[in-house]
Amino acid sequence: MKITGYLSEFSMAEIFRFLEQGHKTGCLSIKPVEDPNEIPAFPLADEYYIFFNHGNIAAATTTLDHQGLQRLLEKRGWLRSTTVKKILPLCPVNISMGLCLKSQGAIDAEHLQLLFKQQVLSPIPQLFSIKEGLFKFDDQHPLPHWEMTGLSASPMEITLAGLRLLRDWVPLMDKLPLSTSTIVSTVQGKPPYHLNAVEWQVWEHINGDLSIANIAKVTNLPVLEAQKICFRLMVIGVAEEVAGISEPSTNKTEQEPEKTELSQSFLDGLLNFLKSKKG
């Protein structure tokens, strides 16, 4: 399976939600499309590669030379690449390099966590500020075991971090829920992610009774800020926008469907008629 598109059409947050919810394994590549009239928020690489293992982020690189993790180890002065190359043959094939080095006592769990932070947890949230880019997800791409620490991160948690960092929301403005819409929870109980204080505040009011504009009022937030928070809750899959309901209807009869049940003979007749059209 290969999926391609532009971030302006299918945002990074939506891609991450799709890959996590679909428990996908493979490589997501993102090639930024730079606007010559704008200075990017951070120096952009030519291409980014994010590796997913059963819906979780297992590694991230900017090259496909399988040397990224070794470069990080060397840069930190922990292990030379010659040493790494001597240790790797001692481990079974298809084990991540990080776990291999740990099992041989070359590095410890804390080293792995720091490497993973530098490789995945810190850089990927920055990618949410890429305004336009071509993305491709390839589920046939093998997992790069030499780039993997053995740790993984939830794309939803990364999405939350990325969208909290985002300063320029212009590319996402048309994707935000409308201020007149209501937001309803799609999960039982509390969200399984780490929300911050203001996100919890908004979460407390997303019961489908208040429009986003009214949630903003009761939480003393600017309406746009409430829309951004609701967007965050939506893209991590814990809430859904219901457009067109600014206030709940109090007129019970208006809510009841104005229709009658259909008889079995009617349904049988209609099915026979349509089946004749199927030819």
Binding site: M1, P257, L271
Partner: protein, 188 residues
């Protein structure tokens, strides 16, 4: 007169008007107007109120098909149409992932107002780079195959394909109705 009302909904350009025109036995009553906003990039005419088609299959029995406008600014029409519907079809273009967000919003709009049977019909599945059925289901918010509505492929220009889609919806409706009857029977 016994009438079944089916609403055909979905994002702009999914093929709703075509779907109804293909199967209706009367000249479809449409409210297409020249598109003046971003929709004009996609097609010259767009539905602003509704499409209406009919299939009369006996002296006092008919199927009515209502196509909603795709644009959200006409969502008051979605509301009016869905309240009287017995079932609905969400038509989604498999080749337009940028519209999955809109499809999801329409779905949430409908599901919040009604619990009537529905199915998802995927158009343009034969186009290169169109998404696979399983991936579209995930993108529309149905990650679990055990908890999703029926999904069928449809060619909105082909009468047989449209008829098959409506048959699938009616069968879903009949199953739901039977379940409800059983549940009432069980309580008595």
């Amino acid at each position: 007169m016994e009438i079944m009302r089916i609403v055909v909904t979905g994002p702009v350009g999914a093929g709703k008007s075509t779907f109804i025109r293909t199967i209706s036995e009367i000249e479809v009553v449409d409210t297409d107007r020249k598109a003046t906003d971003e929709t004009a990039d996609l097609k010259a005419q767009t539905t602003v109120a509704m499409d209406f088609g009919r299939l009369q299959f006996g002296p006092n029995v008919a199927l009515h098909l209502y196509g909603t406008p795709g644009q959200e600014r006409f969502d008051f029409m979605w509301d009016i149409l869905i309240r009287k519907a017995h079932a609905f079809i969400l038509l989604v273009g498999s080749h337009r992932p940028q519209d999955f967000r809109a499809a999801r919003r329409i779905l949430a709009f409908m599901r919040y107002r009604t619990k009537i049977p529905m199915l998802i019909a995927l158009s343009h599945s034969d186009i290169p780079n169109s998404w696979a059925e399983e991936d579209i289901a995930i993108a529309l918010g149905y990650p679990s195959p055990h908890n999703r509505p029926p999904i069928v492929r449809v060619n909105a220009l082909d009468q047989s394909s449209v008829a098959s889609t409506i048959v699938a919806l009616i069968e879903t409706y009949a199953q739901e109705q039977a379940k409800q009857l059983n549940s009432i029977g069980g309580k008595l």
